[in-house]
């Protein structure tokens, strides 16, 4: 039992999260364990989590995408631009925003899988290009978006804002896909040994393109939700999001080497970071320290993992 908890990051992170929540409840009984606070924590991490789900699929397959933060900004800005200046109806504008995101994902995936460009270089370049496109489209930002567009991200169900529900829906759908369908299970094989996967009849390149496409699509969804929630599209949206998301996904059990991780881990990793961030706000720790502490947490987690693995292999 203990071995199972230590061996699977989803369980060990869940145990750690429970511990943090119990301790925090004792220290801040007034402010921490309230419905309002948790609603806010979840709302704040909804964008990151939706992107993290796509990133988890990529990391399972042994790749990652640095351009997601820029795609968040661009899809929001393009959708807002079409709504505001082209008079497009809401569904058309959203479809266009998502289509543009998918296109970016396709370009990334095709150049990486079929032309052999290194994923880090390719998505780093794309990160700059797409951020520039977002600036081109929106200038300093687009405000006063139509009511029906804002309603998507600002309405509530059972007292909880819609982005949280969308996030849970995305997590649930992808958890099912990755866990249960043979199509998505192929990503574990690709991440486990790309050559062996190819020789086992898995069309590795095609699958890689699809992973980048999905990651960009989810970033597009997150960007549209974010601008709907804010009622405005800003070209600075999602700045630094890619590193936060990769941190969350690694915390959630993915490895840069590929072949490992579960979709649930992406949610838990983001949740852990969200709760730790929230606690630091409650404790009035300065924003500068938050970044330092999150960095330390990541290092300690990975080190503990290595240490436990060594112990486990030794016995």
């Amino acid at each position: 039992m203990l071995k199972r908890i230590l061996g699977d990051r989803v369980y060990s992170l869940l145990a750690l999260l429970t511990l943090v929540i119990i301790v925090a409840t004792f220290i801040y009984p007034e402010t921490f364990p309230t419905f309002g606070n948790f609603r806010q924590i979840l709302l704040n991490l909804s964008t990151d989590t939706i992107v993290a789900v796509g990133m988890m699929v990529l990391l399972i397959s042994g790749a990652f995408d640095l351009s997601v933060g820029s795609v968040v900004a661009f899809s929001g800005c393009l959708t807002a631009y079409l709504l505001q200046f082209a008079g497009a109806p809401v569904p058309v504008a959203i479809a266009a925003g998502l289509l543009a995101s998918v296109l970016i994902g396709f370009v990334n995936g095709w150049l990486i899988a079929y032309q052999g460009i290194n994923p880090m270089i390719q998505t780093l370049a794309m990160m700059g290009i797409v951020r520039g496109l977002a600036l081109l489209v929106s200038g300093s930002g687009i405000q006063n978006l139509p009511y029906w567009f804002n309603a998507i991200g600002q309405s509530r169900l059972l007292g909880i804002q819609m982005p949280v529900w969308y996030m849970l829906l995305v997590v649930a759908v992808f958890a099912f896909l990755v866990n249960r369908t043979i199509l998505f299970r192929r990503y574990y094989y690709i991440g486990g040994n790309e050559k062996a996967a190819e020789l086992s009849g898995i069309r590795v390149k095609r699958m890689q393109v699809m992973a980048f496409l999905l990651s960009a699509l989810l970033a597009g969804v997150a960007g549209i939700l974010l601008s709907s929630r804010l009622g405005a599209a800003l070209p600075t949206m999602g700045r630094g999001l890619e590193l936060r998301v990769i941190t969350a996904v690694i915390l959630g059990g993915a490895s840069l080497g590929g072949g490992q991780g579960k979709i649930g881990g992406a949610l838990l990793g983001a949740l852990f970071m969200g709760i730790v961030g929230n606690l630091m706000v409650l404790a009035r720790v300065s924003g500068y320290w938050q970044e330092i502490i999150l960095g330390l947490i990541l290092i300690v987690t990975l080190w503990a993992d290595k240490y436990l693995q060594k112990r486990y292999n030794a016995t």
């Binding site: 369908t181 043979i182 486990g192 050559k195 996967a197 020789l199 086992s200 009849g201 490992q260």
Partner: protein, 488 residues
């Protein structure tokens, strides 16, 4: 000059060298020959300081010597040209040749002028004026790289010069240059050990020949006193494996290959019958693996292939699997297993649709099938979730076979099926292949171990430099026949 006495070396499960003696004189070219896996490379690695012998003594110029590290070997004037290149692709020719011994000034900074001048001189001696010392190695042809590798070993002014299959990548012109240099080095009193299985080169170059078979020396001979048949029989002549050749079977033709050509093979034609075990023999690098990879859709090819009489041209392994072809690759570690994944996930990798319903994975079905395979192939693993990287080589190979049996192949191609696994598992794999053929599967076996081919195959194709150099059936299948068809 160099004396080896009673050198022995074991690896887990294999005795690579048994009490080998070797005497090399100053000013001679001493050839070391033997089949693939006879122990030549192990012996060379001991002289290079990469491996420590379990027993025996090394004497250089009359003094007992221990070579603990490659640096010890360099210090004693041993220069080595490796079969697998040791060059760094992204650096220049000059920096590669003088790696770790660049001329430096009083400040410890590299004197590039001097470095390039000395490189230029070396390249000139090797007839390689066309290469500039500042070219990066990645832009060279394989033959030029091999020559740079030789220049690197020469730069240390060795007194004992060892070359392991140096001509594998060279054209005839470069080979001639190399031989000229080796002869002039011999004239200068340098001792040269030349490892090759190209018999013709041995007769062209060597003064004396030491033959190694199954890790034991078969004696040292004057090259002039040796003939080609004598050499072959000493290299291979060994008692047959206690395994009866399978009777000839002549089921219907399953796979018909006509004029297959690819990057490393030309104009290959053969027929594979149901229930037959056909062998592909030849030296390492002859193009056998490439033929298999083409038939499995990994590499492109030209030519006509028919499967059950219908044209077949796979563009991807998935196409081949669709048509019931299976391929167990030779490099199990790198392109076979998924080391961190479970036994179950490894076995079902090529047959995912068979363990699913409407695209949804069914762990129950997978577990049942894998348990059955685990039992019938006697795979020893603690559970279905044990990572395959932790299993022994023999068990990993059984996992590979289990993976492909799960696809119910009609054509099974196995590449070096028993490479690096223990004897017990070897025989289990032979029995398994026999049983499959008995049930009507067409089996194509690629192997460098001749007893294995002789024991398993009813028919044998020998590949030499990418072409079929002969077909052997029944009693014609002997090591001497294979070797004389395979040797260059």
């Amino acid at each position: 000059m160099l004396q080896l006495r009673q050198i022995s070396k074991s690896f887990p499960g294999v005795k690579a060298l048994r009490s080998v003696d070797l005497d090399v004189r100053a000013g001679e070219i001493h050839a070391l020959c033997g089949e693939n896996g006879a122990g030549k490379s192990t012996l060379m690695n001991i002289l290079a300081g990469n491996l420590q012998p379990d027993a025996g003594a090394i004497t250089i110029n009359g003094t007992d010597t221990r070579l603990h590290t490659p640096a010890d070997a360099f210090a004693l004037g041993i220069g080595i040209v490796y079969q697998h290149l040791s060059l760094i692709d992204s650096m220049s020719v000059a920096e590669n040749i003088f790696a770790n011994q660049q001329p430096v000034n009083a400040w410890g900074l590299i004197r590039f002028h001097e470095l390039y001048r000395r490189t230029q001189a070396l390249l000139k001696a090797l007839n390689l004026e066309s290469i500039s010392p500042s070219t990066t190695v990645s832009s060279l042809t394989p033959a030029q790289r091999q020559m740079v590798e030789i220049a690197k070993a020469l730069s240390r002014d060795p007194t004992l010069f060892i070359l392991d299959e140096p001509t594998a990548a060279l054209s005839e012109k470069e080979t001639v240059t190399l031989f000229m240099i080796l002869r002039s080095m011999r004239g200068a009193g340098i001792a040269i050990i030349y490892i090759s299985h190209r018999l013709e080169e041995i007769f062209r170059l060597a003064d004396r020949v030491t033959i190694i078979k199954d890790g034991a020396s078969q004696g040292t001979f004057e090259a002039k006193a040796l003939t080609r048949p004598m050499l072959i029989s000493k290299m291979v002549g060994r008692e047959l494996a206690n395994h009866a050749p399978s009777p000839e079977r002549g089921g219907p033709v399953v796979l018909e290959v006509n004029g297959l050509s690819g990057r490393k093979f030309r104009d290959v034609s053969f027929r594979l019958h149901a229930g037959e075990i056909l062998g592909l023999a030849g030296l390492v690098g002859a193009g056998r693996t490439e033929i298999a990879r083409a038939l499995f859709g990994v590499d492109p090819y030209r030519g006509l292939v028919r499967l059950h009489g219908k044209a077949f041209h796979p563009r991807h392994p998935a196409d081949a699997i669709q048509r019931a072809i299976a391929y167990v690759p030779e490099d199990r570690q790198r392109s076979g297993i998924f080391p961190s994944m479970s036994l179950r996930d490894n076995v079902i990798a090529a047959a995912l649709p068979r363990v699913s319903r409407r695209g949804l994975y069914r762990e129950q079905i997978a577990s049942e099938k894998v348990l059955a395979a685990k039992a019938s192939l006697r795979i020893s693993a603690t559970s279905l979730t044990q990572p395959v990287g932790l299993l022994s080589g023999g068990n990993q190979q059984k996992v590979m076979l289990a993976r492909w049996l799960m696809t119910h192949p009609e054509v099974l191609i196995v590449d070096e099926p028993t490479h690096g696994i223990d004897v017990g598992a070897k025989y289990e794999i032979y029995e398994l292949l026999e049983a499959l053929a008995q049930k009507g599967t067409a089996v194509l076996v690629i192997s460098s171990e001749m007893p294995e081919l002789i024991g398993l195959c009813s028919r044998l194709l020998v590949i030499r430099e990418g072409r079929i150099s002969g077909t052997l059936t029944g009693s014609e299948i002997t090591e001497e026949h294979i070797m004389s068809l395979a040797a260059i």
